[in-house]
């Protein structure tokens, strides 16, 4: 049960600890409360003392097999059972199963008359009976100081309380004693002087009308413990303490890349997208499309079969979902598949640290691969001190990094200040910082996106035009004109002009080509004509030659015929005839 053995170097005096089972408290205390010793839990009214004590007892009984006794001085057993039923603690059943013993000590000063010397043996008798009947290892006395308001004889009281603590120690009972916080002292009646082993202070501070619960280990004799103030939360699953500052810069850096869901953006980030586990900040003015980028990232994460936790601090999820549908992103289907978990709440409902506890808890429960925070600026509004914001965010980012969870924060920058300064010094925590800027010119506002920084990659230095279309976000390489980047209508005009120019050139080429063709055809025709003329001439010449030849032959025949006829030989005459026919 005790985590640390006697030989452990961290517990020099050999203090053994019992785990409380309270989320985070065991980490702060390095294992739990001192075994067999009383622990004092002080705090003002409503700071959660009873809840802490009760959870210590119930978790002990349920999780660690250590039955417990709850001795209440302020609330009846029925009231207590009802109060903690909302946390899922079933006291009547635990009592029935003999895992727990509830005893309400009713002290009403108006019906008590003190008439001399007395002691508090009655409480001892009851405690003994309770401890014996369930075999208790843990005891809670809530609030022992009620005795002081009920009884007048302080000397007797103090002596008896001292005896009570001794008795608890002698019986090896791990006890939690709650006490009301006093002015300038830990407890109103100075109970801390009897409890020297472990003192826990609970605090419920209200600032800017927002309450923050905090816990501090004032003292824990003989052991190392977290000395800071830790925010905590009481909700339907009980206590959650946030041991954030125990984290350092020891996280592993992943080389795995994940897409942002926007092809153009991945391209700007060295063509591969973000590193897993990196922290991304998207800054921009109102309406610059930060949520759209976030939704794209959520969509990409879930489409890859990974889990994404979406914290919406500005809009309800149904509103985000509807709006994203208008740009062609259906993120609701991921919710139905259980990959996307969206939590929406107003930042003013909690203080900064309470937000953090809630975030912490949600992350622990859902175990996402990516977390989206839209927008982080709303958290900052709820805190008065920028330093506090930085410290809290550092802790949260460290927490996510250790878990290798990629985080995307959006940040609303105000128009009056430069984007670089308005992000409350969290830029050093950010690995990839995207800025969406409004460019106002020629009577319109256009969006441009650029990468301010992106650690560990050769990112683009270009300014890209950022367009939100019916089928998602598009990044278009911006036109560079004489007055800088051209976007929107200017870009379209430029595009139109270029298209016209292109057309004109095309046309010119066509025309030239046509002219040339015509010319070629003309020349061809001329050539053909000349050739025809030549052919004619040739033919003519040939026919003249032939005629001349024929004439020459004819003359020869004639001469022959003439000679023949001169010789008056008929046979000779017939022989000459085929020659004539050949012609």
């Amino acid at each position: 049960m005790a985590k640390n053995s006697n030989g452990n170097s961290r517990t020099l005096t050999g203090i053994r600890k019992v785990p409380t089972g309270v989320k985070g408290l065991d980490e702060i205390t390095g294992g739990g409360l001192p075994q067999g010793r009383p622990t004092l839990v002080c705090g003002s009214a409503g700071s959660g003392k009873t809840m802490l004590a009760m959870e210590f007892l119930v978790r002990g009984a349920v999780q660690y097999g250590e039955p417990g006794v709850f001795m209440a001085f302020e609330e009846t057993a029925e009231e207590l059972s009802q109060n903690v039923a909302s946390l899922g603690f079933d006291l009547p059943t635990l009592t029935r199963k003999k895992k727990m013993y509830l005893d309400y000590v009713h002290i009403d000063p108006s019906e008590i008359q003190e008439t001399g010397d007395y002691d508090l043996e009655g409480i001892f008798v009851r405690l003994k009976l309770a401890v014996d009947s369930v075999g208790a290892k843990r005891v809670v006395l809530d609030t022992l100081e009620a005795l002081f308001s009920g009884l007048k004889n302080q000397a007797v009281l103090r002596a008896e309380i001292r005896r009570l603590f001794r008795w608890l120690k002698d019986h090896g009972l791990t006890a939690v004693i709650t006490a009301e916080r006093g002015e300038g002292t830990l407890s109103r009646y100075g109970l801390e002087e009897y409890v020297s082993d472990c003192v826990i202070l609970l605090d419920n501070r209200v600032r800017e009308q927002v309450a923050t619960r905090r816990m501090r280990i004032v003292k824990y004799r003989g052991t190392a413990h977290g000395a800071n103030e830790y925010p905590f939360l009481i909700d339907d699953t009980g206590f959650s303490v946030l041991p954030l500052s125990s984290l350092g810069l020891q996280h592993q850096a992943s080389t795995q890349r994940i897409g942002t869901g926007i092809a153009g953006l991945d391209e700007m980030l060295a063509g591969k997208g973000l590193y897993r586990g990196s922290t991304v900040l998207v800054s921009g003015m109102a309406g610059s499309g930060k949520t759209s980028i976030a939704a794209h990232f959520a969509d990409a994460t879930c489409s890859a079969g990974q889990k994404c936790l979406y914290f919406a601090l500005e809009e309800s999820f149904s509103q985000v979902s509807r709006n994203m549908k208008s740009i062609g992103l259906d993120i609701k289907k991921h919710v139905d598949r259980g990959l996307l978990n969206c939590q929406a709440w107003r930042p003013s409902s909690y203080s900064l640290e309470m937000h953090l506890v809630r975030l912490h808890k949600s992350v622990e429960e859902f175990k996402p691969d990516a977390v989206i925070f839209d927008p982080i600026t709303n958290l900052i509004v709820s805190a008065a001190d920028p330093l506090e914001v930085t410290s809290v965010l550092t802790r949260f980012i460290d927490f996510l990094k250790v878990k290798q969870i990629t985080a995307l924060f959006t940040s609303l920058t105000s128009a009056s200040s430069a984007a670089e300064t308005s992000d409350v010094g969290i830029s050093s925590l950010i690995d990839t910082w995207l800025l969406v800027r409004d460019l106002e010119s020629n009577g319109e506002r256009n969006r441009a996106l650029y990468v301010i920084k992106s650690r560990g990659m050769a990112h683009s230095n270009q300014v890209r035009e950022f367009r939100i279309t019916g089928h998602g976000v598009e990044l278009i390489p911006a036109y560079l004109g004489t007055h800088g980047v051209l976007t929107g209508t200017s870009r379209m005009i430029q595009e139109a002009q270029e298209a016209a120019e292109q057309f004109r050139r095309q046309h010119e080429v066509e025309r030239k080509r046509f002219t040339l063709e015509t010319k070629r055809k003309k020349i061809d025709a001329q050539i053909a004509a000349l050739r025809a003329e030549y052919d004619m001439a040739e033919k003519e010449a040939m026919s003249v030659v032939e005629e001349a030849e024929a004439a020459r032959k004819q003359r020869g025949v004639d001469r022959f015929a003439l000679a023949k006829s001169r010789s008056s030989n008929g046979a000779e005459h017939r022989k000459a005839a085929p020659v004539l026919e050949q012609k």
Binding site: T115, G116, D117, L120, E121, G122, R126, L151
Partner: protein, 107 residues
């Protein structure tokens, strides 16, 4: 209401016997002994013949402590007449005992 040990004082059967006083102790401690003797003295002087004292030893019957909301020892409880009143201590302060039992008006 269980009675651990009851002890009748005085000649009980008088018509005025409507006082039931219960003294809770835890073992025979000096305070308990003192309380009992103080109680007897007071009763004898003020309530002679009209009272009954029951002594309950919580060391033997610890469950009665919870049942009757006893936290201090010794505790004297005026069971009858109603309403129930509690007086803690060894009853050495007689004036306070009388005040606590509201004996002035009853007598």
């Amino acid at each position: 209401m269980k009675k651990a040990r009851s002890k009748k004082n005085g000649n009980g059967n008088g018509n005025g016997q409507h006082w039931i006083l219960r003294l809770y102790i835890a073992g025979q401690t000096p305070k308990s002994v003192a309380a009992l003797s103080n109680l007897n003295a007071i009763c004898e002087s003020k309530l002679k013949g009209q009272y009954k004292i029951e002594i309950i030893d919580l060391a033997r019957k610890p469950e009665l402590a919870r049942e009757n909301q006893i936290f201090a020892i010794p505790t004297l409880v005026r069971q009858m007449p109603e309403p129930i009143r509690k007086i803690i201590g060894d009853l050495s302060d007689k004036q306070r005992v009388l005040l606590g039992l509201a004996l002035e008006e009853a007598v």
